[in-house]
C-alpha cells in the first residue's frame, strides 16, 4: 500500500467519522437541550449578559463563597 492509498482511506474514514460526530452532536443538542450538568444550553447566553465580577454565575467552578 503506497502513501496515496493510505491517504485516500484515511481521508475517507476520518471524514465519515467527523460527519457522523457532527450530526450526533446536532442530534444531542436539539434532543436533550441540556448538557450533562442539567443546564439548558441557552442559559449560557447569560455569561455575557451578566458578566460583572459580582454577578451570579451560570456555573461556578467551586462552591466557595465569594467574599
Amino acid at each position: 500500500m503506497n502513501i496515496a492509498e493510505i491517504q485516500a482511506y484515511g481521508y475517507f474514514a476520518i471524514t465519515v467519522f467527523m460527519t457522523v460526530a457532527l450530526y450526533a452532536y446536532i442530534y444531542h443538542l436539539y434532543k436533550n437541550r441540556k448538557d450533562a450538568d442539567g443546564h439548558d444550553y441557552e442559559e449560557y447566553s447569560n455569561l455575557v449578559l451578566n458578566d460583572d465580577i459580582g454577578d451570579t454565575m451560570v456555573k461556578p467552578i467551586s462552591d466557595k463563597k465569594e467574599k
Binding site: I3, Q7, Y11, M18, Y25, H28, D35, A36
Partner: protein, 230 residues
C-alpha cells in the same frame, strides 16, 4: 457524551487542533512525498540570476506580476506554453503572485531583450506610454548582493540537493553545467563574468563603467534573471 469536550479546556483544544490539522495532513504531507521533479530543460539559477531574483523579491515585483500561465487559449496565446509543475523545481520561494496588475513574466525571457528591459526599467512610459508601472532608477546605482546570492546557492545545494557543478539534461539531448564557486572570491568572479555579457548589450554608460570596475548594479542581475525566465 460531548460533555467532556465542552467543559474541559485542554481536551477542547486538542479536539479543535485535530479538526483543523486534518486538512493539512491529508492535503499537504502526501504531496511532499512525491515532491516535484524538474522537467527536462529546467536548470538551477546561476549566482547572478539568484542575485537578480533577490532584487525581484526585494522590490516585490510579484505584487503586480504573476509567474503562472494557466491552460487557457487566451493565456497561451499571450504568454506561451502553460506552466508545468516541474518547471518550478528550483523556485524557493515560488513567485506565482496573486494579482496581474502587469502581465505575466513566466516566459518573459523568450520575447524581451536586455535592451528592452533596460529602457523599460528606467522609464516604462518610454516604451508603453500609458503604463502605470513606476520607474526603478535606483536599480541602476544600488549594487547587487552577490555574497548573499552565493550563500543561497550553497544553502540549496547543501540542504536540498540542487545540482550545481553537475550536468543537467537539456531539451535538445545535451547537458549543461551550472557553476557554483568554491569560495566567495570565485563566486564573485563567476557572477562578474556573466554580468559583463549582460552589460555588453546595455547602453547606460554608468552601468557599463561600474561593471568594468568589477561592480554589479542591481539592474544587471535583474536582467540576467528575467532573461533566464523561459
Amino acid at each position: 457524551m460531548f460533555h467532556w469536550l465542552e467543559k474541559n479546556p485542554f481536551l477542547f483544544s486538542v479536539g479543535v487542533f485535530v479538526v483543523i490539522a486534518f486538512a493539512g495532513l491529508i492535503e499537504i504531507i502526501p504531496n511532499f512525498a512525491e515532491a516535484s521533479r524538474p522537467v527536462i530543460g529546467t536548470k538551477p539559477y546561476s549566482t547572478l540570476e539568484i542575485a537578480g531574483r533577490q532584487v525581484y523579491i526585494k522590490n516585490s515585483c510579484n505584487a503586480c506580476h504573476s509567474q503562472l500561465i494557466r491552460p487557457f487559449k487566451a493565456e497561451t496565446d499571450r504568454y506561451g506554453h502553460y506552466s508545468l509543475s516541474g518547471e518550478y523545481a528550483y523556485d524557493r520561494p515560488f513567485l506565482w503572485g496573486s494579482k496581474r496588475t502587469g502581465p505575466d513574466l513566466m516566459r518573459v525571457g523568450n520575447y524581451r531583450t536586455t535592451e528592452w528591459h533596460e529602457n523599460h526599467m528606467k522609464s516604462p512610459q518610454s516604451i508603453v506610454p500609458t503604463s502605470i508601472m513606476p520607474a526603478y532608477p535606483w536599480m541602476f546605482t544600488n549594487k547587487a548582493d552577490i555574497d548573499t546570492a552565493f550563500a543561497e546557492q550553497l544553502t540549496v545545494s547543501q540542504f536540498f540537493g540542487v545540482p550545481y557543478n553537475k550536468p543537467v539534461p537539456m531539451k535538445d539531448g545535451t547537458t549543461k553545467v551550472v557553476k557554483m564557486g568554491k569560495s566567495i572570491a570565485e563566486a564573485r568572479a563567476l557572477a562578474l563574468e556573466e554580468a559583463k555579457k549582460v552589460a555588453a548589450d546595455m547602453k547606460d554608460q554608468d552601468v557599463k563603467d561600474a561593471v568594468a570596475k568589477g561592480e554589479i548594479p542591481e539592474i544587471v542581475a535583474l536582467i540576467a534573471y528575467l532573461n533566464s525566465l523561459k
